[in-house]
Amino acid sequence: MAADLVPEDGWVFLRRHTAARIALGRSGGSLPTRETLGLAYAQALARDAVRAPFDPHALAAALRPLAPDVLVLESAAPDRAAFLARPDLGRRLSERSAALLAALPRSDPPPTLAIVVSDGLSALAAERQASPLLAELLPLLRAHGFRLAPLVVVRHARVGLLDPVGSALGAEMALILLGERPGLGTPDSLGAYLAYSPGPGRTDADRNCVSNIRPEGLVAREAAARIAGLLAAAREFRLTGPALKEPPSRPSLGAK
């Protein structure tokens, strides 16, 4: 019955070339029931990912086996609603957290890199991808001879938070790993942004980005290799931004 009402489009075979929603069929000219519900379901997952609560202490506990020195801080955004409406609050630390960082003894020599982990726009992304990524990344960084500042876990951060954290820790470079804006079918994608000489007045144009980090996208091992490559190049050329070109990618062993 339903098959008669909604004949299959004759070009379903084209789906092997793209993940786009093609050859969906039609009810009259409208989306068939299964497709309209499929779209609603994908959006529901993405919406829930945006609203999901994030427990920075639980993530910090999960990360301690990888990096013993972990700090839990908070941005200036008091809650999720304020975080979404006021991007500027997500780019600053709360007064308490800023004071806490300022009171830390400065390491000598200063750290090569400060790493920040945050829920950003998807707590799921931080919870699912941060550990596997850092498990691949930290050994590469140590092999490069990087001195690492304490790992910082922050709730409600925007990309720009890497500047105040990086400069407060006196780090030569800063890296932030945070949940990207959830898309349909990608509720848990992590993004990585890095900046050489982090500090006030820096913008997106001073940063480099590696995005779509998740098992179905850029897998942890390859993401770690790209981020480590960019950080090593940033240190060598003393800059980040469009002028820093990524080294040509090599297929990594064991990756699909």
């Binding site: 070009w11 070339h17 786009a20 039609r26 779209l39 990608t186």
Partner: protein, 458 residues
Amino acid sequence: MYTITLGGRTHSFADLRTLLAKASPARSGDVLAGVAAASAEERVAAMYALSEVPLSEFLEHPLIPYEADEVTRLILDTHERAAFAPVSGLTVGGLRDWLLAYETGAPELSAVAPGLTPEMAAAVSKVMRNQDLVLVASKCEVVTRFRSTVGLRGRLSVRLQPNHPTDEPRGIAASIIDGLLYGCGDAVIGINPATDSPERVGELLRMLDDLIRTYRIPTQSCVLAHVTTQMAALEAGAPLDLMFQSIAGTEAANSSFGISLGLLGEARRAALGLGRCGPSGNVMYFETGQGSCLSAGAHHGCDQQTLEARAYGVARAFRPLLVNTVVGFIGPEYLADGKQIIRAGLEDHFCGKLLGLPMGVDVCYTNHSEADQDDMDTLLTLLGAAGVNFVMGVPGGDDIMLGYQSSSFHDSHYLRQLLGRRPAPEFEQWLGEMRIQGRDLRLQPIPGQHALLGGHGR
């Protein structure tokens, strides 16, 4: 200083910029910028005060100084006094009444357009309700031409948007075929490339050109890279139809996009020089969206809707084929929810049409704003009633490259069915010849051996 007393209470507004901002319907971006009205009462007081401002004041008191901003200079230097004459004695509120008058039809609106500045259009929109924005826009007719004719009354065109996360040509072609078989693509087949390089742009333009020639599709191609990347591709011999660029309403915001009015002029001359477009000279495709100036830290204390209208002032100097406001893309810090996105979409479409532009709207939202498909259905339907020139067509409404939800091929077909809107005439004829869509606007069953499925064997 503008002052008004309402209910025994006096409200003052320091200057025109402040008055416009406070009269703007509530939205998160104006709150973020710190320019929004402090209360509902103050907002309506500002609307009253704004309604009494003579239109001529917008010519005498630019919101952003003439010396400081080339967009202001463009707006004032190209203002046509003769076209302005029929409304020159009116206030902002008077202009609303004039626009709604039975006697004001498409010819009057088209004649007055060069006499209106973007700030006048923004101002009058602020004292208009959604129904006013729909009704007046529906009276405007702005027609542009390349291989297809877009914007004729009773027609609705679609930009086919076949994006792919790695620009895989076969993946893009698969989405294009899907869209064509759903009757979409008469405004443009426009790809947002994942990689902004002249080589990639050239490759994609050649693929589109092949497709358009092979199947004799009466439409035009575009690859939405930065204007300088497209110019480099064009110099290397790429078959470019439309030159694309995102634009904004202030010189500083445009500069953050890496463009200037001079560069846009150069890009247009380069595209015209290829001789692919007819006498219309409609070779440009612009995209805009409220909030882009604030996002670039270049808003000069103005509200985001007024600055959006100034972007249309930039667009109209270059006689575009298409102008597309990407209304819900920027996120909830600028437009928080479905209500704000719907209002902004109607404002943008109205202001663009009033200024004489071929307006389309990307009816869209991101998953971190308080909006869903039902809100988009509402906006799409209202825009159809308002006579929008074109909307987006994205497979299943899910753009897998840009990560947001837009209107689907099915959505545009819904609107054509509901309102009896036909595709662009050349494209409608092609759809008939290809047995894709009949005169009754119904999609036809597509046999497995259809020509469009030929070169893509199982």
